[in-house]
């Protein structure tokens, strides 16, 4: 064999690489600009369906538009409701039915005029007509009207404790907009936020630019509440639907922020040598399985219970999120420390008992009908969990049929009770139980509606005292475990990443970029 001179080869390689880098530098030179940039590129999970924050409950729409529109109330870092456009928390009458709200003075709209109670009333009326959560609130509402120069009065039919939280949530937002801009669909986005809408090119970007006349609150910033300041001149929300691309882009320093990364990427982000900073949000959300109580094989409650016995939520979470660093397998729907923390019914959680489940199914009259699981691959963990659940159910003698569709189809099909028995989805963990999942309300897929549910929820919703509501939630949770309308699989942590250049960013369920800076 001929001897190969390794050293000369290496020199050759080095020359080649130097040459190549020179070319690359030349190419890159085209992009370098001498000015310090004052914009942030933010990689989002998808193209927003719409920029109308009332038309969609999608988190993405809320995430972007919360910079443009504001709400009367919002949440601080501890998930307490705090005022935003309202001057302070509302004055509630003794019977719990009348809410008096006073607006802050001198709040400027993007159109250059001051915000008035008429804007607020028109906006909330639109919200109650169009937004799913707004419609739920509308059922409780008696009247809403302006009162004086800065006042708004809401009168309810009966006490409804979640009202202020409903008004505060950034998803399906009760956004306050300029009255004259209200139209369906929205043609212009006139709000009060620290950023105003600049340009949208679908599948390319949504540009928001600093609103110079923004009137900020005086309180120090906390969570979504307090002082907001648009330190970055332009926010560029870029849709990057491929999770892997978001990871690679974050690692390559292409994005200042990359939303919702697969948790598996954490170690890579940690090892990126400072190119990217991982942001882990504990108890970010919960996956849940909705069971069809209206039609099909699992309309039988006893069979739903048998399925609950069959599955092992812990193993499912492991399949969905890999490492125990990224999930918590516990039956309590709200984490320890939350006022709604309760262990009621949690003995039903994570049993994974095939034999017991088989016996229970037999007793329930199960005759080997196929259980149809509807899931999508849009969210990888949905699919992985569904796959594992199917295996667990097969072990307990169930016949399982996987129905894997794209997310758009799933969202559509789940509205038809004939098409599925179980579907997989997830939600953020919110401070107010009524905000999610929608199965706690009326008419959501699954169509859970039993006397036990109505009784437990009526008691919970009509109790205005937060301390007492905590205990009442335990009763609701117990009913959920008894009747199995949905199964809360556990809690998972969210992972996102930011560039080292993005400073003063505060992690949040709906990431926001006021107060953040670009170095």
């Amino acid at each position: 064999m001929p001897m190969i001179d390794l050293s000369s080869r290496r020199t050759l390689l080095r020359h080649a690489l130097i040459g190549a880098s020179a070319v690359a530098a030349l190419l890159a030179g085209a992009t370098a600009s001498s000015q310090p940039r004052n914009h942030a590129t933010l990689a989002m999970v998808a193209e927003p369906q719409t920029l109308d924050p009332m038309a969609s409950t999608a988190d993405l729409v809320g995430t972007i538009m919360q910079h443009v529109y504001e709400t009367l109330y919002t949440f601080d870092a501890k998930w307490n409701v705090v005022p935003m456009l309202a001057e302070s928390l509302p004055k509630v009458s003794a019977d719990g039915k009348t809410y008096s709200i006073t607006l802050r003075k001198g709040v400027m709209l993007h159109s250059g005029r001051e915000l008035t109670p008429d804007d607020v009333v028109a906006s909330l009326q639109r919200w109650m007509e169009q937004s799913p959560r707004g419609k739920a609130v509308a059922k409780e509402l008696d009247s809403i009207k302006p009162k004086g120069a800065l006042g708004v009065e809401i009168v309810l039919k009966a006490p409804y404790a979640p009202l202020v939280s409903q008004l505060a949530l950034p998803s399906g937002m009760a956004a306050i907009m300029a009255k004259e801009s209200i139209a369906t669909p929205l043609a212009s986005y006139v709000g009060t936020g620290p950023y105003k809408f600049k340009e949208r090119k679908p599948d390319q970007f949504v540009l928001l630019t600093r609103f110079d006349k923004y009137s900020a609150r005086k309180e120090p910033a906390s969570g979504y509440g307090g002082k907001r300041e648009a330190a970055i001149e332009e926010l560029r929300f870029v849709p990057v639907p491929n999770a892997n691309t978001r990871v690679e882009g974050a690692l390559a320093g292409q994005y200042d922020f990359a939303d919702l990364l697969p948790v598996e990427a954490l170690s890579r982000l940690e090892k990126s040598g400072g190119k990217s900073v991982p942001i882990l949000t504990p108890s970010f959300g919960f996956p849940y399985l909705v069971l069809n109580t209206k039609e099909g094989v699992v309309a039988n409650q006893a069979l739903r219970q048998a399925i609950q016995i069959a599955i092992g939520e812990g193993e499912m979470l492991a399949a969905g999120f890999g490492d125990t660093r990224f999930f918590v397998a516990e039956g309590n729907h709200f984490p320890k420390g939350s006022p709604y923390y309760s262990t009621a019914g949690t003995d039903q959680y994570n049993q994974r008992n095939a034999n017991k489940a088989k016996a229970a199914a037999e007793k329930a009259g199960y005759k080997g009908e196929a259980v149809r699981i509807l899931t999508s691959r849009q969210y990888d963990f949905h699919y992985n969990m569904a796959l594992l659940m199917a295996e667990q159910m097969k072990r307990a003698g169930f016949k399982v049929e996987m129905n894997v569709v794209d997310w758009a189809t799933l969202v559509q099909r789940r509205n038809d009770s004939k098409l599925w028995d179980i579907y997989v989805t997830h939600s953020g963990i919110f401070p107010e139980p009524m905000l999610s999942p929608p199965q706690l309300g009326d008419g959501a897929p699954g169509w859970w509606s039993t006397p036990a549910k109505q009784a437990a929820l009526a008691a919970f919703n009509q109790e205005p005292d937060p301390a007492k509501r905590g205990a009442l939630w335990g009763k609701v949770q117990q009913v959920v475990y008894d009747e199995v309308p949905y199964i809360n699989v556990g809690k998972f942590n969210g992972l996102s990443a930011k560039s080292p250049a993005l400073e003063n960013y505060q992690a949040a369920t709906w990431p926001f970029f006021w107060n953040a800076r670009i170095k």
Partner: protein
Amino acid sequence: MRKFLLSKALGMLAVLAIVAVIVFVLTRAASGDPISVLLGDQATAEDIARVQKVYGLDKPLPVQFAYWLREVLHGNLGDSIFLQRPVTQALRERAEPTTLLALMAVAIAAAIGIPCGIVSAVFRGRWIDQLFTGVAMLGASIPSFWLGLVLIQIFAVSFGWFPVSGYGAPDAALAERVHALVLPAAVLGLLNSALIIRFTRASMLDVLGEDYVRTARSKGLAESTVVLKHALRNALVPIVTVVGLTVALMIGGAVVTETVFGLPGVGNLVVSAVLRRDYPVIQGALLVVAAIYVLINFSIDLLYAVVDPRVKVG
């Protein structure tokens, strides 16, 4: 000549008409519902019915087709349900990256494919021919997303020479756009060069076997003159045809590459429209992409008639 043009033009119109019918039937046969996606998880049946009416989705199919065709002939491809803007506008916005990508990719493909094809043909049966033919076949066997992922890993992630994804910043200059297109164009170019190598080789082999090449040799011309002047010029017409059609096919055919590299092009638009059940966009894009193909094909026919002295016309 006029008769030739007329028959070609009629044929083209027939094809376009069939394309229109196919496109309409395809998209209206779809099962998904765009309205639920648009309205989100908690929309009611009435909401859905109301919006369906707005977009004319409640009428019988032939009526929808007639309505649609009339509008199409007026240059109106309808409004995107999801993007809430005219389809023509959406397509125009996506045209630039796709066109640029197609041109760059074809330039790369031709720059690799034509010389390699010529060399392969001239040295037919030798090791270099086998090497190029083998490489060409390998190129035609690699899934584009696979090559894309590999190139991203090497040149974007490890070396950081190119962006991982996207089409540059919103206010980017052309140079930055081109820079962002280098990797995707390389993927498409490399894979498509396989076709061009193969085609150039075949075309050159045909020509090299022609009598006039022997005549050229009999004049004592150098082999390079024989190949480049006498053979290549004759082989070039079909090669250019293939190159032209490759451009046409890449407009909308670079779906996977555009997706891998997150390019806001026409292919990407169609994929997302399919996932969003955005019928007007699917219809419009399929129609426009196919029409471009048909038109490029037609212009190549015309060009043939004009350029090639041998085409007998009339």
